[in-house]
């Protein structure tokens, strides 16, 4: 059982049984423990702490470590930063135990045990095995300070290598870096507002200003961004995020603003300013080289960039995976010989094979995925189809060509199994052309092979 401040005052303690607690305080309000919700809240708080420093680490179950090296002066010093954080958390109804220390471990230990300096910490802060802790206590070494003054090799000999290592981590002799939740972006610009912005339009104007600043920074680096993250920090701690990805590196503010507007227009739930945004940050986590551009005389690159801009706009609105191109692959399995990739993914496929001159198209214009089951009547079980039924309609085969036999990829499978497909191009009495296959060789592979419709010809 965990308890809050009020319960502590009423004489309850963590670890007590619920029945005992209810006996002491009949009006007790109990909530079942929800670790997932706790973790989500911690992540949400960590998002909000991004406003102070990009180096935020969540330490479940209830710790947050902020590396404020070089950031504190922006908030008027370390103490002012801590005050600001504690005030914000108090507004959310959360009690914080802040601690400042040179290393993450020390800060966590100080916060947990509410001590002022490392030497005063009880040895429980070392989180040693119970036997070792008991032995230290029996030796009269009740605080970290006392343990640290002992002869280290002797301690190591008695309690193992772990103890000196833990002490070194606490004192800062071993540097333990904070692992940030997200890597710092190469280009970041942000703006703080003394009075929170409560209008979405005002926030958009601020974003536009940031985009222009980021564009200048990118120009200096001769780079363009492939991905742009906007984080809108609400004064109550919530962080709204907008992400725009582009097919080609971009730094033109006009294009970016248009993309971001598309993205906002496509949001399922609109941006809620709530009590207002007091910090807006634009990050460019993915950049790529982009030289200064000059329009070509023939206008070739202009047309390319125009299509690129259209693709980016459609991608921002519909989702980048929805704008695709066709890529050929080197495979004889029909459905694996061509696939779709998001436009902008730099993968070059194999070359497209083309039928010989004079030959009619051998492959259909559209392919069913998965192939559709059909009922087929054939003269002989391993012969061409005579008549088939698809979507409750009967088609009489007038012309056919085949079979084109396509074997399974037996070399990819341990058992060498897999059914051979016999493909037929057929035309029905209405002139419609279909691509059918029989799945499995009659007799040798399957007693009663099934038929499938795999594609339609133009």
């Amino acid at each position: 059982m965990a308890v809050d401040g009020q319960a502590l005052a009423a004489g309850l303690a963590p670890g007590m049984r619920l029945a005992d607690a209810r006996a002491r305080v009949p009006e007790l309000l109990a909530q079942p423990h929800d670790p997932a919700a706790d973790a989500a809240l911690l992540e949400w708080l960590a998002d909000g702490c991004d406003r102070y420093t990009p180096m935020v680490m969540a330490v479940p179950p209830h710790g947050l470590v902020l590396d404020i090296t070089g950031c504190a002066h922006l908030f008027g010093g370390e103490a002012a930063l801590v005050d600001d954080l504690v005030t914000r958390l108090a507004r959310l109804g959360l009690t914080a135990w802040p601690a400042l220390a040179a290393t993450p471990d020390a800060a966590l230990a100080l916060a947990r045990h509410q001590a002022d300096c490392i030497d005063d910490l009880p040895i429980a802060a070392l989180e040693l095995p119970e036997a070792s802790e008991l032995a230290l206590r029996r030796a009269g070494l009740l605080t970290i300070g006392r343990v640290a003054r002992q002869h280290m090799p002797a301690l190591a000999a008695r309690f193992g290598e772990a103890l000196p290592h833990l002490l070194a981590r606490l004192s800062g002799a071993i540097a333990v870096p904070v692992t940030p939740r997200r890597p710092p972006a190469p280009v970041e610009v942000e703006r703080r507002f003394a009075a929170p912005l409560t209008q979405v339009e005002a926030a958009l104007a601020a974003i536009e200003a940031l985009v222009v600043r980021a564009g200048l920074l990118l120009t200096e680096r001769a780079e363009g961004g492939r991905r742009f993250d906007v984080a809108l920090f609400r004064s109550d701690g919530h962080v709204a995020r907008l992400v725009v990805e582009t097919a080609a590196p971009v730094r033109d503010p006009a294009v970016l603003i248009r993309l971001l507007r598309e993205r906002i227009g496509a949001l399922a739930d609109p941006i809620d300013p709530g009590f207002g945004f007091d910090l807006i940050r634009l990050m460019v986590p993915v950049t790529a080289p982009l030289a200064a551009q000059q329009l070509q005389l023939e206008g070739g690159s202009l047309a390319d960039s125009e299509v690129g801009a259209l693709v980016d706009r459609l991608g921002a609105r519909l989702g980048r995976g929805r704008v695709r191109r066709l890529v050929a692959a080197d495979s004889h399995i029909p459905e694996q010989a061509a696939f779709e990739l998001p436009l902008g993914d730099a993968a070059t496929g194999a070359a497209w094979t083309v039928a010989a001159p004079g030959e009619p198209p051998l492959r259909p214009v559209t392919l069913f995925d998965p192939p559709q089951i059909i009922q087929v009547i054939a003269e002989v079980p391993d012969g061409p189809p005579r008549r088939f039924r698809w979507r409750r309609q009967t088609h009489d085969v007038v012309r056919h060509e085949g079979p084109e036999r396509i074997a399974a990829q037996w070399w990819r499978r341990a058992d060498g199994a897999g059914l051979t497909r016999d493909y037929y191009r057929v035309e029905d009495s209405n002139g419609r052309r279909f691509w059918l296959f029989r799945h499995g060789l009659y007799g040798s592979e399957k007693p009663d092979p099934g038929w499938y419709l795999h594609g339609l010809f133009a």
Binding site: A254, V255, I257, R258, R261, L302, A303, D304, E306, V307, L310, L314, R317, L318, V323, R324, R325, L326, A328, P334, A337, L343, T353, V354, A355, A356, P357, E359, P360, P361, L362, R363, P364, V365, T366, L367, D369, E379, G383, P384, R391, Q393, V397, V398, R399, H400, E401, G402, R425, V426, E427, S429, N430, G431, R432, R433, G455, L456, F457, A458
Partner: protein, 264 residues
């Protein structure tokens, strides 16, 4: 919806001057048919291709792609489809290459619903760097109405992009330049290896389309013809044994919409 010029002064400067493409025509490569159409399809316009029957969707898509191939404009061909259609079948690159179209020219856009498809389509048609835009709404798509078609028509006239609507069901009022029924037709040229099987049936040949002009804004009378696609010359040819384009009684072709013309 088509543009937001007020908020984008910087972009306006980048756009190339509008090309006066009003006169550009797409010739089918068949003199008799081209002459009837006054030189061919208007490129900078919206044309509607209706599937004649339920199973003619692939023919419509093929015919639209071939028109886009023949429109003479450089640049990518954008094909907009809906999620619901993509759940069943997808464009197949090898088959497109077999028609003579470079699959690398094709940009596939998948929209979640008809409204999103129309919005994306209107934006795409406004992009003069594209060769053609194919819009394929799923099913009858009542959202693709007179207003939507007029918007597309205007955008196409401005940018010069060939715009083709791939539709199914009964024709509905629209502002499109022309409206066609497209269906598959029996092979005429036998395949190269015609006597291919023991039963003596010949192989399916080159694609043949039975197209019927239902309505044209400049008053061209309805007619029906068959077009065979010849990949090697990248052109439509008259079926070798088929009949010359014969006028169908206009009344029959226009009858289904005579009552709706007032609404349009």
């Amino acid at each position: 919806m088509t543009s937001r010029p007020a908020s984008l002064p910087a972009l306006a400067g980048l756009a190339p001057p509008p090309v006066p493409a009003a006169g550009a025509r797409l010739s089918l490569g068949l003199d008799a048919v081209d002459a009837r159409l006054g030189g061919g399809f208007e490129v900078a316009a919206l044309h509607e291709l209706y599937a004649q029957g339920e199973g003619d969707a692939a023919s419509v898509a093929g015919f639209a792609l071939l028109l886009a191939l023949r429109c003479g404009r450089p640049g990518p061909i954008l094909w907009l489809r809906e999620d619901r259609a993509a759940r069943y079948d997808r464009p197949y690159g090898l088959g497109l290459a077999d028609l003579g179209l470079d699959p690398a020219r094709l940009v596939l856009v998948q929209a979640p619903d008809t409204l999103a498809l129309l919005r994306a389509g209107a934006e795409a048609v406004g992009c003069a760097a594209l060769a053609a835009v194919l819009l394929e709404p799923f099913g009858k798509a009542p959202a693709f109405d007179l207003t939507a078609s007029r918007r597309l028509m205007l955008a196409a006239a401005r940018s010069g992009v060939l715009t083709l609507a791939l539709r199914s069901g009964d024709p509905v009022p629209s502002a499109a330049q022309s409206r066609w029924h497209v269906a598959a037709a029996a092979s005429l040229t036998p395949g190269a290896n015609a006597p291919s099987s023991m039963s003596g049936a010949s192989a399916p040949g080159a694609p043949v389309f039975a197209v019927t002009l239902l309505r044209h804004r400049s008053g061209i009378g309805g007619f029906a013809t068959r077009l065979e696609w010849d990949r090697d010359s990248a052109s439509f040819t008259a079926p070798r044994s088929g009949p010359a384009p014969a006028a169908v009684p206009l009344r029959a072709a226009a009858a289904p919409e005579s009552g709706r013309r007032h609404a349009a």
